[in-house]
Symmetry: C2
Subunit: 333 residues, 2 copies
Amino acid sequence: MTGVVGSGKGGGADRRRITRALSAAEQAIGAVKGARSVAERLALAAKASELLSAVWQLPPAQRLMYHHGDRLVDVDPASTPGFDGGRGEAERFIDVSSGEIARFMGLLYANGVHGSQRRLLIVLQGMDASGKGGIVRHVFRQGDPMGIHYHGFGAPTKEELAHDFLWRVRRELPRPGWVAVFDRSHYEDIVMPHVYGTVPEKTWRARYDVVNEFERSLAADGCSIIKIFLTISRENQRRRFLDRLDDPTKLWKFDVSDLDARDRWDDYMAAWQEVFERTSTSFAPWFVVPADNRWYSRAVVSELLRTTFTTMNLTWPGLNCDPDEARRRLAAS
Amino acid sequence: MTGVVGSGKGGGADRRRITRALSAAEQAIGAVKGARSVAERLALAAKASELLSAVWQLPPAQRLMYHHGDRLVDVDPASTPGFDGGRGEAERFIDVSSGEIARFMGLLYANGVHGSQRRLLIVLQGMDASGKGGIVRHVFRQGDPMGIHYHGFGAPTKEELAHDFLWRVRRELPRPGWVAVFDRSHYEDIVMPHVYGTVPEKTWRARYDVVNEFERSLAADGCSIIKIFLTISRENQRRRFLDRLDDPTKLWKFDVSDLDARDRWDDYMAAWQEVFERTSTSFAPWFVVPADNRWYSRAVVSELLRTTFTTMNLTWPGLNCDPDEARRRLAAS
């Protein structure tokens, strides 16, 4: 994460470069199905991946990862660091990338069926109306319900409060081969008491270590973890809230208690700042993503997810029996 | 369910009629967003729904519902009853319908957030390679991971066997506002012992009543239930298995034990026949869907789902506070 602000209004040359990379990526992806060998398929997929990465001036994973000492207030929510295109290029990127993500999800799922422990957890945090829900829909645009588990964490129920704060989290973790998306998470159990003092300071402060240990053991067990904070401006939140109040199909998203949280904006920012400082680790890093422009934050999350998948080096599982024997039995039956 | 076989090769006039209905439906759906009032929006949605229904010569819900005395062996898996179009028309129907399903899912989810108990359970059954997995992907093509829960039931684990057979099923039921898709289900706990004798006959036979009571209470509690059996021919299964053996990206789906089940084909059909006879109820009916043509079975399931949603008469929840008060607070903060 750096203080440098990307313009998001790249010149015509930048946009043409992005468009060319996207077209070439689409072409490579389209050719994968017709590949005559495993080697050719892998080469085409690698080429597509390289072209999609080339859309970014700097990989979001590098540009937006939180490093100790970074300050949340220094991030301009309206900026679009690392991306030289506009809304149109971002939309097209999300489209192409979502197809690749769907392909990777199929691979991950297949490996899960064949005994692999690999899985992926995405933690989405951000103030109300920062776009957590919409991101899920767009990033997994071409997804398959088979292999993805979404869960929204609300205020804990009586039953949940009767257990340790990670109890309800453990129940929603991804199974082998699956991707889980947490809309809010165990981090609420640190931030909320920090802001409202509902739990003794000693108790919630101890949770930093508990969470780090929890995530470390998850990662060691084959679960990749991406933690994302969508940062919007107060002014942008006001506009989004007014939109909700004006749209009969969005009224249901609005709750008057959202305004209480808005009144404590600075307290929330301070609480999150401390969360990043204490829990951004090499095995479960935080990414602070400017989200006033929805198309930018969606493209970033799509790219973070896609590049995480590429580092998994997944291949299609083989057959657990003799194929000729299977063909013979099939011919006879 | 009737013995009459639809041709699936309707004449040019039939195809043109379907294409016209689909175009008009798309137009109505496209206009919904620009509607100036709730009444206009509802009218356009109703018109789109009517046009989509008109694609079918007879509603699948009527044509394919199992009635006592129907015989599974009388259903031609290659037939396409009620649909006069071909693959192209079916594909286009699934596209348009999946958008409507996504809209309904959003409505259902919003109502769940606001205290409604309404939810939907889809049970998918069928022999190996009958297309259970692919249907999920296609029917929810435009879906949102938020609000859909997919679960595949495999052979019970040791922990699952230590509980009653519905224990693992209850844990995967849809939450209020959600759609759950079961790829296999509690019915395996009747069919498998029936075919293989792994459990005393008295035990598995008693499960018919248990299952009916379970589903009756679910339905009474606001959970709509659609149970689908995809029926394919043995020859079609052979072709699908050979496809899997020839495609490195599909090998993972093949397990040599699938051939054992294939050897007991007639026993399975007899066991399923009894399941339909004993558990097709008004609150949780079975639909027997010819599935040799994937495009047909996908279109049918899409339409069953869409029409189930239309009977729910869902509307967008209103605001739980005074909108002007909320706007005032927003302006001041």
